[in-house]
């Protein structure tokens, strides 16, 4: 009997670990590849090439865009938003008649997508399927650096152009890839605006650098350390935590014991909300809390007062959206709808204001569209060449890719802002921009009052 119990427990351990690993994979087999359908129709956007067709369309060609999304698992919240943004772009461009090439071919777009369950193994399996069985012409990355890193290997092996969005890690672009093109500001530059702001606000601040131990968050933390040190900030605590951490009590006690006055860190949505709540519950007297990703979501204020004062870097904010005049001043080409047009269309389709994850998803489609227009072809090599030569501005910001062998595809033109949750006069939460100063909409809330 004893032997049976030991065997049973061993079996049980394996089964449990499998259960944990599959992360609630309620869908064992991938759903059939069907065109993704946006939730609701949206206003058509202007598409340069479709405005004035040179001649009647001779042929309609459908370009298949493949990607996975995290409908379940830890990346669900941000991933769904990213996909919503992409779907909005696809709906708009198809409704506007697609992209017309100079030979009269009308290019329309169709998305093939699967649920990756926020699981890197699933991502590799599904991207292979998208390429070999669904015959995807171009790829969009999944959400998050970890999943994108997994997908990028498959894309590169098969020579498929992949526009990466929702993936800021720098390292993926430093491995000799030639088919990846990043839209996000790289992770190593994520916190630089925040540090610049801290220099003005409190040069004596003591920093706790506490982050999720995943690819993206570690990359952000490693990237900002030299900049903090160069600006004479003291890093009193540096620590990583597992992605599935629920109890942040010991970590918050460590932050408190370190004498830190500012917390820079976090990771993604689920851990970020738990960490913000733990900091609030213990009221350890931090003057400023900055977390990655989680505070950028419109759901974040569901934490109640734990959300107050929490800041984050944002790839895009409507209040600081980029515009044609800015492009003109910089001498770069403007492309696509304005930020207001994009936001209005998104709210009409999905019912809530767009976050930067939505904007990133939309921009992925927009950049691919522009590359096809510039290439005047859907040939992957021509599109790749157009992406390499691209230097444009959209409502989402600058888009230009590093074309060196050392870091091919790394984004070099996009800039971020720092946003913070504050309360307006009516006592409602609103996300305001606190840095850089030239686009700030409010003063930073520094050392918020205790709960």
């Amino acid at each position: 009997m004893k032997g049976k119990i030991v065997k049973l427990l061993t079996l049980l351990m394996v089964a449990s670990l499998f259960l944990a690993a599959c992360g609630g994979g309620a869908t064992e087999a991938p759903a059939p590849a069907e065109p993704a359908e946006p939730a609701a129709p949206a206003e058509p956007a202007e598409t340069e090439a479709s405005e004035e067709p040179a001649q009647p369309a001779m042929e309609e060609q459908t370009v298949v865009i493949g990607f996975t999304s995290s409908l379940t698992g830890s990346q669900e919240v941000s991933s769904k938003r990213q996909v919503n943004g992409f779907n909005l772009w696809m709906e708009q461009v198809n409704e506007a008649g697609g992209v017309t090439l100079s030979d009269g071919t009308v290019v329309k777009f169709e998305a093939h997508t699967y649920d990756d369950e926020s699981n890197a193994e699933r991502v590799q399996e599904l991207y292979t399927r998208l390429i070999t069985e669904d015959n995807a012409d171009f790829l969009i990355s999944p959400y998050s650096s970890g999943l994108t890193s997994a997908a990028s290997i498959v894309a590169e092996q098969n020579g498929k152009v992949m526009i990466t969005t929702g993936a800021a890690d720098d390292d993926t672009y430093k491995t000799g890839n030639t088919s990846l093109f990043q839209l996000y500001t790289p992770a190593s530059l994520y916190m630089s605006s925040t540090v610049d702001m801290l220099k003005e606000l409190d040069p004596e601040a003591k920093i706790a650098l506490v982050h999720e131990s995943d690819k993206f968050s570690t990359s952000v933390a490693e990237g900002i350390k030299p900049y903090l040190e160069a600006n004479n900030f003291e890093i009193v605590l540096e620590e990583g935590y597992a992605s599935d951490t629920a109890d942040f009590g010991p970590i918050v006690n460590k932050i408190s014991g370190s004498g830190a006055t500012v917390l820079l860190g976090g990771g993604h949505y689920n851990d970020g909300t738990a960490l913000a709540r733990a900091i609030y519950d213990r009221n350890i007297g931090l003057k400023f809390v900055y977390l990655l990703v989680a505070p950028a979501d419109t759901k974040f204020p569901e934490l109640g007062d734990a959300a107050l004062g929490v800041a984050t870097s944002s790839q895009w904010e409507l209040a600081a959206t980029h515009n044609e005049a800015e492009a003109s001043n910089l001498g770069v080409e403007w492309f696509g709808p304005s930020g207001e047009e994009f936001a209005t269309a998104y709210e009409a389709a999905y019912g809530d204001p767009p976050t930067y994850h939505v904007a990133g998803g939309y921009a992925a489609g927009l950049v691919l569209q522009k590359a096809i227009i510039d290439a005047d072809s859907v040939d992957p090599e021509a599109v790749k060449a157009a992406l390499n030569a691209m230097d444009i501005m959209t409502f989402y910001g600058g888009t230009k890719f590093d074309t060196s062998e050392e870091a091919h595809g790394l984004q070099i033109a996009h800039k971020m802002v720092v946003a913070q949750w504050q309360k307006n006069e009516a006592g409602e939460f609103e996300r305001v921009i606190i840095a850089p100063a030239d686009v700030a909409t409010a003063d930073p809330l520094y050392a918020p009052s205790a709960p």
Partner: protein
Amino acid sequence: MQQLSLLLASLPDGILLGFVYGLAAMGLTLIWGVMNVINLSHGPIIALGMFGTFFLFIRMGINPYIGLIPVAGLGLLIGIVIYFVAVHRVINAPHLSSLLATFSVNMIIIGLGTAAFTTSPYNVDFNMGSFRLGSTTILGTRLIAALIAVLFTGGLYLFLYKTRPGRYIRAVTNNRAAAELMGVPSTRILALSFGLGTMLAAVSGALIATFFPFNILSGGSYELKSFVIGVLGGLGNPIGALLGGLILGVLEGIIPAFLETSWVPVIEFALFVVILLVRPKGLFGAK
């Protein structure tokens, strides 16, 4: 010195959390003790308890501690239903059958839960304040959760030792065939035991929801902790489960004082393997 201060700050947190871990593990170990079934639907039941608190408090405005009563009632009912639907027919089959049966229930609950609630986190914005003892901050929600866990343990003890159904449960645990010969309705007692186990899981989930954000997958980590605790305290021994929970809670308080927090699960599961190898009946033995 800083380590000592951190230890003093984190230890009470760990102890208080340990009581709740113990309560969750008690549900698992009770079912194993009575019918030799490892309930792999334990984690999702804990998550359902969390959602119980969320909907009762956020949607209906019911205090989470009052809400424990309906959560416990529903937990008991769900357990009885699971027993008759998935467990009863395989109760005498090899262990693998019941393992797979409860694993199927686990997948069904997670699938339905994902469809209904998605996997994005939910937060119960509920605060019972806090107070400081030196460098230690004691959160009201954790203190009350620990007290409730102790109350439930005491209640379970009284139920098992002072009531007729409780005596029946112990009789079935000791020798089901003999109990049946004595007129004990074993099927009903087994269903009741399974229900009590899931009730304890649901209540622990409801308590955890008062201090951590959660989603439908959150029960998985507490299920794993419950296995470790069950092995520490001795599978089938409810009081041992509470003590095992305390040990795990204390470990979670102590380890971060000396190592990075990411070492906590490594050490916990290393301990699991060591106990299985060295003392498979658990530190406090099985009854």
